[in-house]
Structure formats: structure tokens, C-alpha cells
Symmetry: C3
Subunit: 267 residues, 3 copies
């Protein structure tokens, strides 16, 4: 797989990604998409989410600070997205921490056709039935058998499952990719996972929508983001400067950088 | 016009600007006002918006992530502002992207006395009837005849209209100013337009409230913000560091810097 | 008091702090806790706040952009926290600016057992009956007799009261500490007070819950935060870079730095 060409395609097409996300990361997710070269829009009013989906090329849903109003926003937006063939990326932030979040994630996965599910290994463990412990919104430990559970879940629901962590796992139910790029400081800032979800939205937006295309787009999105994180960490003095440099790196990273640094293993 | 003295007046009087703004930019708008030397407050509860307007010197309304609750907040706050003579700056983020946003903007413009309308050229084209295309919250292209439409709209509604972009246009319906300061990276970060709207709030707060005063305050606000952006861009490595340096520059920029760098043309 | 050991304990135990906070500071409060070594979670849905409190070790409530939904969130969360013995830190942002905020703060203080009340001197003056003027969310002037009023209020309500400003005052009703660390730029960025409230949550989370423990934890939290602010200000060029460096400093500050720099006076 040539990952760099995916980044180039995102920058050429500048897809509009409609985000319904949490209150913590709205700003950083929007800036991440802008820095990378995509176009973000945030909208949650029941009156307009379907209209916004209609002009967007991907829908990114994030359960981070869910409430009943936003649950309905996501329901309406995902219904419109399915009707129009707009791909959906779902980030089940905090699934497993409270029943409310777990159930909201499961309901969306049952009621709608979701194209990519991305969470940390704890959240994905809970959703796929592999177990794992989630304290708040941080993953504690992925349960044993995570890969098997992810593959089964991906097949059963016909989607791509990505569990990010020190190593990132991505599967379509048949093939598993293991991704080694990234930097520990990603876990020291809030919203890096949520921003990555938005980035996956930008990449699947420029894919052909096939299972193979969605899988490759997801692998490419995670790799590009994590390569930028590695570049950002060089010269950073802590989480604050890392975060600033991450936006600079997302803006500066070239397809060549991505291809040169990519560490992807096919299982 | 001496623009620098407007900045000095803002810093001396430190006006309180009441913002009802979108979820993406609350933090950056507040920090922008603080860095410049004004005082921000954010409040949207129906129970308190009128009380907050009563102690504020300007009200900045931003339609970025509108929902029915916030629509009512803006309705109540603008009613109180009109009653008390507190100037209102309206930012119709995403007008034209969905009917909900366009209609919310139009309703406020019809029902209330708004002093300044500021948007990007796409949004202002939609509102003033000049046409133009809005994809999400980015302007695509200003329609032909934008200046004419802006002047007519300004006269009909008795307000100042500002359409920002590579060149910024400001009119009271009689005179048109064309402003050339600024930097392309302003479009690479989220919230620069929204922050500018809040800054206009701070400048009109220290004006005499006449049509001429509001016009000059708006021109001064845009010029000061864009001069700071130029200073911030020098030495920035990308959108992340630009954003940080912009807050530093808003804090450091002097009236003399503004007067030395201002590029304002009266049409 | 050895302040540095408190910081070490926070980093070792990495307590989960549940925040119900305002829209301006959600991101910066979460990043502050992460940088320091604690674990943040934000959740406000009525359906889950009690469940989230059940896995948290402290609850931080912030009235900054209050609305009726959030008032109920805080009511439910604080009820659960009292039932489970989870300590609560309350930040009455803007108390005195509008009746709505003042009353919301007073209702929480009457209905629940709050462990620490932290605000700026204007807000604390209003709440404790010492007077003082609050314009928006900035303190204008602490009323005379602030210390006496704080002590009386602390005794009457059985809590720790902290009024931060150029000098910070902390009392349990018997002893008063006066803290001199910090930097004027803390007032030039939004959310420094709100972030400090979240940090107090992390410190009381690792205390023994006694009056003496809560008092010392509060003094330690303010001192650690303000020492980091001093370190951040060295080499900063303005509020933007100060904010970035503050997160770096919260990550880098050692117990030894805190003990070497602490300027604490017992009154």
C-alpha cells in the first residue's frame, strides 16, 4: 500500500467532513482537519443535520460528551448519511465507562450502517465483546483475544474496526493490519483519538467506498496522523508544545514523509 | 482615519463583550479578547442573558453551531441589547450552507436592530442576496456584484456590513472600505473569523454609536486583528504555531504598529 | 507542609476527576489534568453522571456557562458524590455577575456537602457575603473583610474556601494560608482559574478526606499550579505561548521544584 497518495488525494479534494463531536475536542478536531487539508463543519441542530450531511462527504460521530439531544442529532444525521451513501466513522468514547455510553454506541451500530468504528483498545474491547477495562475515557487494558473479537465484529457488522493504542490494530474481518507509528505524547493530550477519528472521516471520504477502499483509507489515515505525531514530538518540550507542533506537522507532512516513515504490518 | 487610537481606547476602557458563540471557538474567542485587552464573558442561559447584556458594552452573536436553545438565547439577548442600546455584532456562520442557518440569520436581521454584520464573502453574498456559494462554513466564491449588494443591504437595514476574505470589504451603504491586511494562515485555523467578530464587538463598544463611529470601529477592529495576524505569521511554522503567536501578537501589537502597517483604501 | 509530595501522590495514583464544566474551558481543563498526571473525564448527561461519579475520585463543578440542563447535571452528580463520599470542588464562575449564577452557587452550597469552594476574590466575596464587585467573570475588587467572611463561611458550611488572585487566600475557618506563587499572565488567559479548580479536584482526590487533609491538598494544588505558571512565564512571549508553556510546565514540574519555590504564609 502507498499511504502517501491518500494524503495527496485528501489535499486535492479537500472533502467536507461533518462532525458531531464532544465539547472537549470541537476546536482541536476542526483545526486538525484544516491543518491536514480537509474541510470541517460542526453542526448538531436536529433542524439541519440532514441538510449538512447532504453537502458533506463523510460523517464523524463521537460519543465523548453525549446527551439526549446529541443522541438524536446522531440518529438523524446517520439516517441521512445511510440514505445518501455518505460514509460514517463512529468513535465510542468512554464505551464501557457507563452503561449510557455503551448502549448509545451499540444502538448506532445496530440501527445504522457504520463504515468505520475507531476507539482505544479498551473501548473496542467492550464493544466487540473481548472485554477490557475502561476508566473514564482512558483505556486500561485490552482484553485477551482482542484481535479475534475485532475480526468477528467486523465480519458480523460489515465494517472496519480500528483499535488504537501503542500499536494500532485495523481489520475488515479478513485481514489485520498492525501499525507501529505514533508517539506516547498522543496519550498526554486530550482529543488526539477524537481528532484521528475526524481524520479517518477525511480519508474514507476520498475512498471508493468498497470494503478494500475503506480498509486502506483507515490504515492510511492512522499512519499519516501518527507520522505527523512523530514529527511533532521531535523538538517538543511537553504536551503543550507537542499539540501545537502536531498541527504544524499535519500541515507540513508530505506524502513522501508518510511513505518513508510508515511501519505497517499485515497479519 | 487613525486606527491605532482605537486599539488604545479598547485597552484603556477594557469593555466587557458578551458572546453567544459556537462550541468550536468559545475558548479562542475569549482568549482573543483577553489578549487584545478587552474582557470576554460567555453566557447563554435564558435565565441570565438579559442580565449579562445589562452589564456588557457589546453583544456578539455567532450562529456557528446553532440549536433551538441558542436561537432563543440570542433572541432574548438581542431584545435586551436593543432596549439598552448595547451594540450587536452578528456573525452568520454557515449562512447558505443549510436553510436553518440562513433563516436564523435573516430572522435576527429582521426582528432586531443589528449594528454590524460580519461574515466571509460567501455568507455575506447569501445574506445580502448577491449570491455566492457556501460549502459548510468556508466561502467558495463571492457572487458578482457583492459590493453593490452589500451597500444596498447596509442602507436598507441601517447597519455596517463587513465581508472578510483575501481583501476585506466594509460599508455603511455610502462609503466602501477595502482592507488589505492579513495573512492566508488565518484561513488555515478555525475560529479566526469568529474571533474577529468578537473583536469588532470590543471596538464598537468603545465607539460613540453613530453610523460613522460604528463604521470606523469596524474598519479599525479588522485592521488591528489582521496586523496582528501578519506579525504572528512572521516566524510561524504552520497553523499551530501561528495560532499561538496570534494571541501573543494581539497582546503585543501597539497603536504605532497598526498605523504603520494599515493598508486601507476608501472606495 | 511539604507540597511536593502531594504532586508525587497525584502522579502515582493518577486519580480520575469528573468535570462538569463550562464550554470555554473543557479542553484546557482536560489538558491541564493530563499534563499534571491526573485523568480527566467530562460527562453531563443526566443518564450517566451518577455512574461516572461512581468511578471517579473527585467531582469538579464549574458554573461558567450554566444552563438549566447543566444545573440538573450538577445536582444529580453532587447527590451521587455525597452518597459515595466523593469530594466536590465548586467553582462559582461569575457569581455576582447575574442573579442566576449567584443563586445556582448558593443552592449547591445549601443542598449538598461541598468540600472545597474556589473562586476569584470577587466571586468569593459575593458568596461569603463580604461584598466585592464582579463584572462578567473577572474580579474587580475584593470587598473589605474578605478574610473574616471566608473564615465564617468556611466554619458555617464545614468546607475549605479558596479565593485566588494576586495573592491566594485559603482557609478552613480556623487557619488562613496566604500563597504568593503565580504570575500575572494567568489572568491574561481564559480558563486558568477553572483549570486550577480541576487541579484541586485531583489533589483532594488523593487526600484522606479530613478537614486538615482537604486544606493541605488545596494549598498544595494552588501552589503546584502557580509554580508551574512561574516556570511557564520564563521565556514566554505573551498569553499564547504562556498557555502552551503552562501545559509543558505542568508536565515537567517536579516535587523538588515545588518545594524550592513555594511561598506559603500561615496566618
Amino acid at each position: 500500500m502507498q499511504m502517501g497518495q491518500w494524503l495527496q488525494r485528501v489535499r486535492e479534494e479537500r472533502p467536507l467532513v461533518h462532525n458531531i463531536t464532544n465539547l472537549v475536542v470541537t476546536n482541536v478536531a476542526a483545526n486538525t482537519l484544516l491543518s491536514l487539508g480537509a474541510s470541517p463543519v460542526m453542526a448538531h441542530a436536529h433542524e439541519e443535520v440532514a441538510d449538512m450531511v447532504a453537502i458533506a462527504r463523510a460523517l464523524a460521530l463521537n460519543l465523548g460528551t453525549l446527551d439526549p439531544y446529541t443522541v438524536t442529532s446522531m440518529d438523524l444525521a446517520s439516517e441521512a448519511a445511510n440514505r445518501r451513501g455518505v460514509p460514517i466513522v463512529l468513535d465510542p468514547v468512554g464505551a464501557g465507562a457507563t452503561p449510557y455510553r455503551t448502549q448509545a454506541a451499540m444502538r448506532l451500530l445496530e440501527a445504522r450502517s457504520i463504515q468505520v468504528l475507531r476507539g482505544n483498545q479498551g473501548e473496542i474491547g467492550v464493544i466487540t465483546g473481548a472485554g477490557g477495562e475502561v476508566a473514564g475515557v482512558d483505556a486500561k487494558a485490552a482484553g485477551a483475544g482482542l484481535v479475534d473479537a475485532m475480526m468477528r465484529f467486523a465480519r458480523d457488522h460489515g465494517l472496519i474496526v480500528a483499535a488504537t493504542g501503542e500499536r494500532d490494530l485495523v481489520t475488515d474481518g479478513e485481514v489485520v493490519y498492525e501499525l507501529e507509528n505514533g508517539h506516547p505524547w498522543e496519550a498526554a493530550i486530550t482529543g488526539s483519538g477524537c481528532s484521528l477519528t475526524a481524520v479517518i472521516g477525511a480519508f474514507v471520504a476520498v475512498s471508493d467506498g468498497t470494503k478494500g477502499g475503506l480498509l486502506e483509507a483507515t490504515v492510511a489515515a492512522i499512519t499519516c496522523f501518527n507520522v505527523a505525531a512523530e514529527m511533532a514530538a521531535e523538538g517538543a518540550s511537553g504536551p503543550g508544545s507537542f499539540q501545537v507542533r502536531l498541527l504544524d506537522a499535519l500541515y507540513a507532512v508530505t506524502p513522501g514523509d508518510v511513505d518513508a516513515r510508515a511501519r505497517i504490518w499485515r497479519g
